[in-house]
Amino acid sequence: MKNYELVIIGGGPAGLAAAVSARDHGVERILILERDKELGGILNQCIHNGFGLHTFQEELTGPEYADRFIRQVKDRGIEYKLHTMVMDISRMDGSGDKCVTAMNRTDGMFLLQAKAVILAMGCRERARGALNIPGYRPAGIYSAGTAQRLVNMEGFMPGREVVILGSGDIGLIMARRMTLEGAKVKVVAELMPYSGGLKRNIVQCLDDFDIPLKLSHTVIDIEGKKRVEAVTIAEVGPDRRPVPGTEERYTCDTLLLSCGLIPENELSQNAGVTLSPVTSGPVVNDAFETSVDGVFACGNVLHVHDLVDYVSEEAAGAGKNAALYIQNGPARDARTVEICPEGHVRYTVPRFIRPKQMEEKLTVRFRVGAVCQNCSVATYFDDELISRRKRPVMAPGEMEQVILSRAKLSGYPDLKKITIRIEENEERKAGMTE
């Protein structure tokens, strides 16, 4: 059995940044396991620009952003295996080490011993079945990501006349991509009364090409026995059920679905990692350590991000903390404090902090559950208001953050819990829309 200090599962943006950071913090024997034919993960098919504004102060395409990190990995001589599927993570008998079972065509099935493991498997798209859209099941129904791979990496067009359900960023980006490559995108329907995508994408991917966006609409029927022939959309009421009489039928040969991403945690679950029912990702502390000692998580496997820059930042934190774990062992005496999300804060990452061991400045990321206007993000240590920051607008499509300071926390040795809450500003209430 080969022995490593750190095994990283996934060679996408999270895995790459975690590897670089772990090496820079002194971990020698690192192995990245990647199931695809190249490093870079989903960035390889995201050929639009807009990546890296925070990290590199440049607007890069996905492959360019990935390339920056792939170079760092290669420059450091970090080992990686491609075409390799991880099948299991378990605890080694008699030590705190982990046993990773993986497989590829040259090594067969093999076992690795690792002091620490970083989960960086990313996420998958919600499929049609999970949305329970009635109708036929012909060819021509693709998740936006599948279509993105076909068009951007293989050069194949999955259709000519397209309806898109879901206005997440991938759906918006694919509306533009399909249009530029010669297809006709007839409409983008969004179940919610707001788009889950960035404003910029709505303007540059839809408005630029006169593609209508229908908010509070969903697909209620798919026609076509062999290939999609038409899709019917209808307006939904506040209960998100279709309103009779609002049906509109679009003839088309393709339906793209961009209806949300789900962290891929089947491996984590089998390894005994506790998952959050809200994010579907592992519950972690400030070190990005999961409920299993020495197993860390970062990137979209932890929670779905809006910007890859935050993935890289978070992954660097996971890499650094994995290094500390490898060098010092588990921080057993650590006192932890829970962060409780309230009032439109859906969740926080991390969920627990260790006031003594944490970074001097810790970024706590979260998403809101509704569009909030003229509100503030309030932080409480037990019942005491610590900070209150005005945010003119917050939307579920974008991540929010609060910075916690270790110095500040050191003044609260008996702290039981931290609460992060969205509060309406006094001057103008009634600013929240569901």
């Binding site: 050929i47 492959p63 360019e64 050069g155 939307a395």
Partner: protein, 121 residues
């Protein structure tokens, strides 16, 4: 003449109204910050975009290379740029920054590779 725009500066997405006097902007309203004013003025007088697409590769480990305009080009030229690369085939290897087309559709802007494709060994 008045034009309505959605500002892309932040999630607020202000609806900004621009009053045009011929080709010059005489008034911008509806924005809630200076960024909105600047965005609206540029967007009505000289809207530009980065265009990203793909070009076919021969002899490579992948069939396509992703490309982009080296800088932003006039919005009205987007489809001309796509037409200009429609039938291009570039031989592998291709690396980030390689010039695929020196002048995209008379914009004076190059189309460059924005990814890497190795040659088949």
């Amino acid at each position: 003449m008045k034009r309505e725009l959605t500002c892309i500066g932040c999630p607020l997405g202000c609806t900004v109204t621009v009053t045009l006097d011929g080709d010059t902007v005489s008034d911008v309203t509806g924005n809630t910050c200076p960024k909105g004013d600047a965005y609206a003025r540029k967007e009505v007088t000289n809207p530009t975009r980065i265009v990203t697409s793909t070009v076919r590769v021969s002899g490579g480990t992948a069939p396509m290379i992703n490309v982009k305009t080296a800088s932003d080009i006039p919005k009205g030229k987007i489809f001309d740029c796509i037409d200009a690369i429609r039938d291009l085939i570039v031989p592998a290897p291709v690396s980030i920054g390689d010039v695929i087309l020196a002048d995209a559709a008379g914009t004076g802007v190059a189309i460059i590779a924005a990814g890497n494709v190795d040659a088949i060994a």
